[in-house]
Amino acid sequence: METTAIEWIVIVLVSAVKMGTPILFGTLGGVISERAGVINLGMEGLMLIGALTSFVVKLYTGSTILAVSAAAFVAGAATFLHALVCISMRASQIASGLALTMFGTGVSGLLGDSLTGKTVAPLMDIKLPILSSIPLIGKIFFMQDALVYFSYISVAVIWYLLFYTRIGLNIRSMGEAPEVCDSIGLSVMKYRYAAVIIGGMMVGIGGAYFPMVLTSFWVDNLTAGRGWIAVALVIFAFWHPGKAMFGAYLFGAAISLQLRLQLIDIKISPYFLAMFPFILTIIALIIATIRNNKKKIAVMPASLGEAFFRGEKH
């Protein structure tokens, strides 16, 4: 069975999209949260919570829509803890995020204990009419499953919301200058809570992608560190949903290539392939920061990581 080079690349990219989608949801969640000034290092824990919730709901109801909604809801509820501790109670966002990862790993491991050997039906791919007949692009992007399509919509909606609406401007301002927002009468608390929890819900959906599409079952620690990759990709994406998409697929391609290069006997160390995206991110961040320093525009949310309390100077 001979495949041409182009066919081979298409196959790699199809699987890059699949492997990249859970990371994309996670990264989008991180983008929303961090745009409002709150870092979430708890993504790995949230993904596990989302994955387990969706699996259990699908197992008992058979409905993917219910399963994914439940994953979003429960992950959002868990993120509330993070929001409470680091927005209201002013604790370190970084320490609180680490606590959230421990909590999520623990709670999912404990409650998922009895599910060994159970499976759900995987989500099947749907060919989109017209779009799927575009050469190359059609096969890569438009012969995927419903959750992948949902991720496209999410990227578009979040992009639009963040950059073309009043609400988006307000959210971004929370991450840049919360004092100013407060002085013009916007509630920093409300916006930050909303952004962090919605972000957490997206991460939960990313977790749901594992049992819904990639594995069809639950095991302890199912996400195997993808949440941490999403944490890094938020930066890679420069807090932008469009670039998040590119980053997530790049990472998906790195996984896919690690596997498929072995079959055509091209030897690249998998460990270098694994570290490549991170080296690229650091270089990109440095270049962008230097360039933007000259133009005097911020490359990242200026108040990222800082708690805000009314009437206090930092």
Binding site: G109, T116, P122, F210, T215, S216, V219, A224, Q262, Y271
Partner: protein
């Protein structure tokens, strides 16, 4: 390497039956056994299979305790803590515990330490493993009969001798009934990463494989095969439930029989250090869970081969067979020794895939 065979087992069992365990030492119910696991019990594979063994001991009345998800780098404290609490036997169930087990054992000469999949022993440290490669060979026979494309995929975790041995045994099984078939190997370069294992299965099937076999723990590859209407073979525990329509068979480990044997030895005071490598005749490993698509004819042929292995008329690594590059590995009428099987670092002919240079 000293190996216990069935008859030896029987003799021991008979002696025990006549003398009664309480005459020599304590009753098995007075024993305390500890287990140290490298992964969570919920991994559905390696640790799960050991925990089934622990539960078997519990049923016999042995007091057991365990700690799961103990990283190799933290194992010395955990093993020591069990030893301090006067556990009679401590089972350390990952290769990476090798030196921490020996270190703690030297500090606590009274306790018995059993290290799984290792090779270093001491006066109070024994090692043990099951010859699951025999079951792998038998699953290879099933795959050899069932493949239509003559391409069979195998997913490997990391290229260590244990995994290489299993891939070789599987390939020898395939080629013993279907010399034209090829076995393609993909390394996921991770100990545990279910979604990546699923993607690896997809890569293999894209490359023409119609059967996927795994050396990893999760059933992700089986689900991927089921989704495409292809076949798959499970590892460590019976994976039928995960993908009933794709599951040809699983090569499994039943630690319970071995743990019971060791517990009785320790209770009777007759335990001596050894390197135990039990085979399919003891029941520690087996091929189970044949799918409906595996015809009675094939099952019969597999069972016949199993009987030959038990009767020591057939050895998995018996000559003649070649290395991957076609150079002879073992000549007609010869076979690999246990030490050679244990530390095998090359692929046999029929495997397509590469090993890192060492």
């Amino acid at each position: 390497m000293k190996v216990f065979r069935l008859h030896l087992l029987l003799i021991v069992a008979v002696i025990l039956a006549f003398t009664g365990t309480t005459v020599f030492g304590k009753d098995i119910k007075d024993l305390k056994a500890a287990f140290i696991y490298v992964g969570p019990i919920g991994d559905g594979g390696w640790t799960y299979s050991h925990d089934l063994g622990r539960k078997h001991l519990e049923k016999l009345g042995v007091t057991t305790s365990y700690i799961e998800s103990v990283p190799e780098t933290d194992s010395i404290r955990v093993i020591r803590n069990f030893a301090r609490q006067n556990y009679d036997i401590i089972f350390t169930t990952s290769f990476g515990y090798i030196d921490s087990t020996l270190t703690v054992a030297s500090e606590f000469p009274e306790a018995v330490f059993m290290h799984c999949s290792g090779f270093k022993t001491a006066e109070n440290v024994g090692t043990y493993f099951g010859r699951i490669y025999q079951a792998k060979f038998l699953t290879g026979i099933v795959a050899g009969y069932m493949t239509k494309s003559n391409i069979i995929g195998v997913i490997g975790s990391h290229p260590i001798p244990e995994i290489i041995r299993h891939i070789n045994a599987f390939t020898l099984g395939v080629r013993s009934v279907n010399p034209d078939a090829k076995v393609k190997v993909i390394w996921v370069n991770a100990w545990f990463d279910p979604s990546k294992e699923g993607a690896a299965a997809d890569s293999l099937m894209d490359d023409g494989a119609d059967i996927v076999s795994i050396t990893t723990d999760s059933a992700a590859a089986l689900k991927a095969a089921e989704k495409r209407g292809k076949y798959a073979i499970g590892n460590d525990s019976d994976m039928t439930l995960y993908a009933p329509s794709a599951h040809l068979a699983s090569a499994v480990l039943n630690w319970g029989v071995y743990y019971e044997y060791i517990a009785k030895q320790v209770a009777a005071g007759t335990w001596k250090t050894s390197k135990d490598w039990w085979g399919i005749e003891s029941g520690i490993t087996d091929i189970v869970g044949f799918g409906d698509m595996v015809t009675a004819d094939i099952r019969e042929k597999v069972n016949k081969k199993k009987e030959e292995i038990i009767a020591e008329k057939y050895f998995v690594f018996q000559g003649p067979f070649n290395k991957q590059d076609g150079s002879p590995a073992v000549k007609e009428g010869e076979k690999l020794t246990d030490d050679q099987i244990w530390s095998i670092d090359y692929f046999v002919e029929g495997v397509v895939g590469s090993l890192p240079k060492s």
